[in-house]
Symmetry: D2
Subunit: 278 residues, 4 copies
């Protein structure tokens, strides 16, 4: 049985759980799983329900909106596959991890294409019968290059998420604003440590004993978007920065794939530049 997911965030008020659960009960919808969280600081209420039963999404949305008021943010997701696009540069570990999961049917997603500023990863992508689109950045302004990428994405039809799987170029605000809350990035450090270029070299020079990786939504401020998942590995003095980078790949790919799984499962709310994960 496939489930619909209902995600609600709104200002907190007495009786919200009661009102919402009453509406589901009245419609004879069975709540398979339910999670709520109240952010006391901002007085915000978050709720995610997995519901079984026949629903008319449009009607249910209208009723919930009527019940909770105009300010409530209500999202109802069908079990359809998410449509995603991957952006990469030259490194294959994150891309490869996603491709192997994809091939195994682990991801409730359809990969529409992989776009890269280099041709390095074309042979890998070709193995999986996924369109590989090379859009070189040489001799192009940043704007022109991004504009070509945006066009390529838009030709693919509706896109749910754009995954930067080690895409090593900084995006302009134009790009980011074209796909708000739809861009996932893996940053190869434990943010907010080592913002910016070559975090492993920075980590090496600082002599840290732990390195990390951070998956986050991209907003206009470089490496400052809402964090979805983080993880770490231990290193010691014997690691060169190249070895840190090499070891870091294992944590990067697991962190990015975990974040991708969370967004595909409709578990992530964004609020006040943070994520609430239910």
């Amino acid at each position: 049985m496939q489930l619909h997911h209902v995600l609600i965030d709104t200002f907190d008020a007495k009786g919200l759980v009661y009102k919402i659960s009453e509406l589901f009960f009245r419609h004879n919808l069975n709540i398979q799983s339910n999670s709520e969280y109240v952010d006391r600081e901002h007085n915000k209420f978050f709720m995610r329900s997995e519901i079984a039963g026949e629903i008319n999404p449009k009607l249910l949305h209208e009723e919930l909106q009527l019940l909770l008021g105009e300010k409530a943010n209500i999202r109802i997701f069908s079990p359809l596959k998410k449509r995603i696009v991957l952006l990469v540069t030259k490194e294959s570990h994150c891309l490869g991890d996603i491709l192997i999961r994809y091939e195994a049917g682990e991801l409730n997603a359809q990969i529409l294409g992989v776009i890269s500023n280099y041709e390095t990863l074309k042979p890998l992508v070709d193995k999986f019968d996924i369109p590989f689109i090379h859009i070189g950045h040489e001799n192009l302004s940043r704007e022109a290059h991004e504009s070509a990428i945006i066009s390529a994405i838009q030709k693919m039809g509706e896109v749910d998420y754009i995954v930067l799987a080690k895409y090593m170029r900084i995006l302009t605000s134009v790009f980011v604003e074209t796909f708000p809350e739809k861009i996932l990035n893996i940053h190869h450090s434990f943010l907010p440590a080592f913002v910016g270029a070559n975090p492993y070299k920075q980590a090496f020079e600082r002599g840290v004993k732990i390195i990390g990786a951070t998956a986050h939504f991209v907003n206009n401020h470089l490496d400052e978007g809402p964090i979805i998942t983080q993880n770490i590995i231990n290193v010691d003095h014997s690691y060169s920065w190249k070895e840190m980078q090499h070891s870091g790949r294992d944590v990067e790919k697991i962190v990015l794939s975990s974040a991708l799984k969370l967004v595909i499962e409709n578990r992530v709310f964004v609020h006040a530049n943070k994520t609430v994960i239910l």
Copy 2:
């Protein structure tokens, strides 16, 4: 503002969240925090609510029981301090960790006394003005020794939890049945690996690369009670078993104190020899 905690577990049925939240709403109780979990395998529903407002616990209990039926297990906890007793042998790390937290006011608990089969830790306990009761096991049968401990505990009045903070003797079923679901133990391994005596020596001999600790409720089957928390540390070939034991102390004390915090905060349900933690 201090909160009451309501814990409910019962067979799952459509509309439980609605019914319970409606009752809270009707009584003008504000739900500060709410968590539910449904165990689909056993069709069991678990709910923990933190509620603010004036309540008559006895009356609320009756109303909930009426609403949910006789089979529902309903517990309502006031913000009162938990009354706990510690059992120890000779090692001070778990005891010490609890005492330092206690002294700092971190635990919503009153330590009624520390009981030990040795006098080793009396000087430490005395520093904190907590009764230390030495009940040696020499020349006593296991039954007679435990009987003396049970008497000593019962003289302390009502007891919420008995914490085995590295108490190195196996308890008989008589003892365990006297305090059902009230006894917490720290087992110095990653259960179910290395059940029984000297797990560090067992771990050393097996050549493991990770050692762990497990806090669990004690039932009649040695080291087989419901697990509350576990954690691990990395070791390598250079560790002797004494060094594993020494390093293991850090994880033991944190795991036991974390489990103690969970039970003090009324977050732990026991079901089918497992815990549900909300």
Copy 3:
């Protein structure tokens, strides 16, 4: 500059480091990296050196043997690629992780072939232009099936390591003894917890809060060979055993690939059914 690796294990004696380093010094060999470990319990000395310079491996071996006596175990490895064979059944995560690393040139290894008792993973292996050999076990005795696999392996010429990348059949002692200390396995639990079949189901039923994976050499006793690497992830009451299995895959693949890297880099000694890793 490519390095030779010299691995020595022998009974400990005063002056071993001096004698060995003197010999290297006399031959004008530069020690790029040196690690020693003494197991006091067994009075055993382990040393791994990475040396730069022109060497005659045969001659160096003879001189070291002469210096250290007949009982010393001396291994000298050239920078040649290790020749490996993978055995798999139906799950792709460990295989896929190795293939992606292989494709990226991360492994100093040549994959001679992938053998499976099912055809499930043939399409994945075919993408990477590696021979896939299907040897079904149906209608064959265990011995006959293994005999066919042994033949297939032996046709591939010299083999350094056989990697069981989720090969879900138990090997007989005949197979194990054919390739002593050459077979790596990934066990999907934190050994020695949950030896045997379906460890995730066992873990689920025990209600553990942490699950793990163990890479080990295979010897005649099921799941009891020397442990190379282990790692864990946290789980909670909300995981079904299928979800534990699913989440466990991430740790399985990283643990197996890490162990494979260690053996490829000639870092692993086996002694007293444990590993020493330098």
Copy 4:
């Protein structure tokens, strides 16, 4: 049998291990444990040996210096207890953890005294019969306050390490330069993230999913001294910054005590603002 520790760091050269081990061999000293590391980037050699046997430290030092040249940094440590002073403010978790270990005889150290700018922790320190010295900072310039602390420390005689066990004031360069490479600090974040005041609040506002703690030597640049140990715990959206702070205490105390153990065991080299730990 108690061991002497010999720590050597110098520029790397061919034959160092040979020369040093030859000298030990010639003096009939048994190397119980030996570790070397070469930092290729700076061409620096580090070696730590635990040696058994009768030694004349002064003479051995001279011979090693003669052998290795003037630029070699040679330290020979007897098994004597380290003499340490603790500085604290109001929080007891790090102090308490050290006191419990101290009471259990775990630390090869003598605590000469605890100095604080508040009287809050006097009752705790008094329990352990350790001098507590209150030096309030009110109505004093930073310089005058520190000057009083320096005087108090100097009255205690020779001091090996000064441990800032949650001492919440920033030290001036005068203080730091008075005790070079002798001051250990616990910073309540995963440095270099969240340098400065109230890192938990910063972490909360950034919405991180992991918080950490860092033990480091103090130098003139706030929170930028050489890192000794780091560790982390997972948090999620449901943590307020106070809860992050509370949970962070467990990792802070373990990290600080681990770093203290490393320096007490003479395992830490400082070089290029990093540590090498052997």
